[in-house]
Amino acid sequence: MDSNNTIGLHAAWVIPLLSAAAFLIIVFSMRLVGFFFSDRNKLAMLAPIVSITAILAGFILFWLVLLDVLNFDGGSISMAWLIVGPAEIRWGIFVDKISVAMIGLVTFISLLVQVYSIGYMKGDRHFEWYFAIHALFATAMLTLVLADNLLFLYFAWELVGLGSYLLIGFWWEKRSAAEAAKKAFITTRIGDVCLLIGIILLFRETGTFNISEIFHIAESGEINNAILNSSVLLIFIGAMGKSAQFPFHVWLPDAMEGPTPVSALIHAATMVAAGVYLVARMMPIFELAPEIMLIVMIIGLITFIFAGSMALVMNDIKKILAYSTISHLGLMMLCLGTGGVAAAIFHLIVHGIAKALLFLGAGSLMHSISNETNIWKMGGLRHRMPITAVTFFIGAASLAGLPPLAGFFSKDELLLSVLHDGQYVVFAITLLGVFLSALYMARVAIVPFFGSVPKNLAQSHESGSIIWVPLVILATLSAGVGFLILPLGSTYPGWAEFINPKHHFEIKPWLMILSIILTLIALILGWSIYVKKLVSAKQISQFIPYLHKTILNKYYIDDFYQWVIDKCILTFGRLVALFDRVVINDTVVDGSAISIYLSALKTRVFQTGYLFTYGAAMAIGASGLTILWWVLLD
């Protein structure tokens, strides 16, 4: 590729390195500061400054890369990391439109969240450490989107998981946070294991980890179909783990134990989208495995509906948002299952911005009302915290799909993509999901901000500027970014074509109207239930008590997992340990030692101490050996 030496390409690999440098600087300075200065707090601000500078520089470089991509169509650059016999593993980056878009999203949201965090995390015991992990996470996430080979991607994939683990467990002194971190890591790990198997399986067939080379080989049909299918499926399972798809979704709601900005960045906007990104990235080989595409679609659909239903009944604001995230990720997967890469990525970006906004807004809420998260204990806060309220509404409306906010466009694209694929049943169910999603968005936006203010929240007030400025920026974007779908001038032919030149921008007016109607019905329904109390939510739930209870208990999936882990795996582990101790060690190992010992005890009775025995042994020995010898010689 002649574009190998463009500035943008070099800028691209600098972006993650900046954050990596920031991570190292913070980690070492943490100890150095402690070493040289008795008062650590004076220099505490060093950490956010370093990390924000790095990510800001990254964000600026992003534009350079974008320009480059617009002009030269991207490219790749790599260096050897490991050469073992036939296997050559390289560290390399690959810049194309999808990755550039992701870089933009990641750097941008990271930047805002980090700025926000200065205010939100002020005074925390591990303030510097918080920013260090943020920098680490940014490094990993940026690497993930840039990686040009699967192994490198996996590398970053796992580091992202580490960042998530550390951030969820940031308040590790809380037992629930520790458990949640563990759960997140282990659940995603199951996916990762499959992902790694898939990657190695592909390597075995193609002899390379390089994504474009794999596509090349796969398209030439050199890979055995069964193996291709299974490795694609395994890769998808990896994506499911990271993107919290059913049945791996359980970790994400629990992950809300982390600080709220973390939830905004990692568990809404970026990391959880990695699965979607991975599937989108690998789409060429997914398309070679139509059966798997169907599975992707079905899983996406199930997740979309299930998570939506759970979001509808949760009471914890962060949990609602979490389930909503899962649900939307399901929607993206569903769309990918129909081949709609552009739409999925677009929704990814839109959802990322909006969800970050919502989480940060929720954080702002919680910050001012002493970390209360139950929406039913809030109310009427729109007057106390106007900026937060307005930005929150914008975010929620965007996700609900209210035109002309970004969510409307992206959802429209998604539905269009499903429709294109000719999956009418799926399309119908998706519409149900769209309805659900608008409904719970209405619920989460309405309940805390309308109604009367509870007494204990009387002191609540708007957060400081360092918190609301990011909200405003995000809200603006959330409102405006949808227009990217449209062709804007000659250099930008609209999103779909930008991502994939073969696609063209199109509009189906009836679909737009249909979705608008659905959304409006949902919003009105929400309005009437939660504000006007025309319809009692309780009555609805009593109408379907078992279903309600099931949904409230998260379909018992968490319990089932808990049971599997505690009762099955742990018990199995204990059994193996017991087997090891009792059978292998005590019986076989010690047993053989003891039997030797016992045989010695038995043998020694021959040593009677009587001369008679000794003499007899000698005499019988001498003549016995003689006879034996005689016999042997004949």
């Binding site: 002194e173 294991v193 582990g573 193996v576």
Partner: protein, 517 residues
Amino acid sequence: MNTFNSWLLFIIILIPLIGAASLIFIPKEQKNWIQWIATTLGFITMVLSIYAFAAYSHDAGGFQFANSWVWLELPSNPLFGQQAIELNLGIDGISAPMIMLTGIVMFTGILASRSIQESHKEFFVLYFLLISGVFGVFASLDLFFLFFFYELSVLPMYLLIGIWGSSTDFKTFIRTKEYGAMKLMLYLVAGSVLIWISILAIFTESGLGTFSIPALAKVGFDTTFQLIVFPLVTLGFGILAGLWPFHTWSPDGHVAAPTAVSMVHAGVLMKLGAYGIIRVGLFLLPEGAEQWAPVLLGLGTVNVIYGALSALGQRDLKYVIGYSSVSHMGYVLMGIATLNVIGLSGAVLQMFSHGIMTALFFVVVGVIYERTHTRDIEVLEGIAKHMGWVAVLFLIAGLTSLGLPGLSGFVAELLVFIGLFQTYPIAGILGIIGAGITAIYILRLVAKVFFGKLNEKVWNSLLDNKFSKQPDSNYWERASSVVLAITILIVGLFPFPFMEVINTGVNEILASMAGSL
């Protein structure tokens, strides 16, 4: 410089011996002297061992720093004339990283041993003997001396564990240190019994009258002979490498041992077993290896899964690590069994990586045990609050153990998996699943022991008064564990220089195998 290079390995083996001998003459009251001498000699040895690795030229390949001295003339024999047992030293791409590993672990072990309570002198004397033996095994190119040094490294184990070790006593489960020491010692010598027999068989069968490994490699033994002797060799060395079902000495022994000994033992001595399988088994008996590889692979797989599951069911911190060693050594065995470049390189790198990682584990757990006098997972909770360093370093070791990219464990396990997939995909899948189970027990442990709310009352009752001012690790222990952690990171992020060397060695082994097949 050339003279220096040709004496380098000899010096590396000799310094610990000199240390052991000289420490005998220092009065035992001079604790500082003893510690400083031990530390200095350890440091010099480590530097030399790193130099040996760094100066190993992967372009030239082959056995470098080679030198030999006639040690004992054998009676002249009409069949093969005048022969002698020679002290034949040299390292190739496989032993070079092992030498460095020994150097690093040994030195960090000395740093971590500063807190030994009694009989410093005897401890370091025995420790140095152990070290000298380990270096000797890796540097020997002669079956006799390989065995000599192997036994030398086994020799001090009983006393090291028995005197300075610790017992496990939960009401339902008691393992005394004497038991652990005895079992470890008997097991290791049981391994050496098989090794001894196979060495004698190889020696006799070759009819050359020499123990020199390069000379014996050229012989090309009879297939039947290889089929009989290879399992003996593998079993013998495999016992040391924790081969299932002969692994039970490892958890019990490592739990009972004092920190430095656990480090060296789990970190280096277990590698010695795997190294032996490669050096003697693969190098001398390629056909046998070819035939028996599936069995070794099966056992290695069992090791991985079984070890991980057992670790899941443990209550004692050190037992978890002990079983995790069993599990991780399974990867080494699997890697060896692939008999291809990638898998074998992965196995060698895993040897290095696991050595460093498990040493780090043991340093950290040693600190915890010394401070709180318990290793019971049920009792410890939230100790990260007072032991920040310990928690972070344990986490690093744990993440290495579960194969997090960026840390050395990932590279090694990845290569093993890739190698496995080329020949035995099913085993590869099981291996990766094992890594998944590892994540479960490590994270469970971290969440349980380090995270969560610390109960101050329980903590104060546990904490040894000596450490009430500073419950976290002291500077020596920190230095020791940080050196290990940095090594893990370096290997994890920049494995290239390591792999170049390892590759050279592995290629030569495989080329010689291919040549004789």
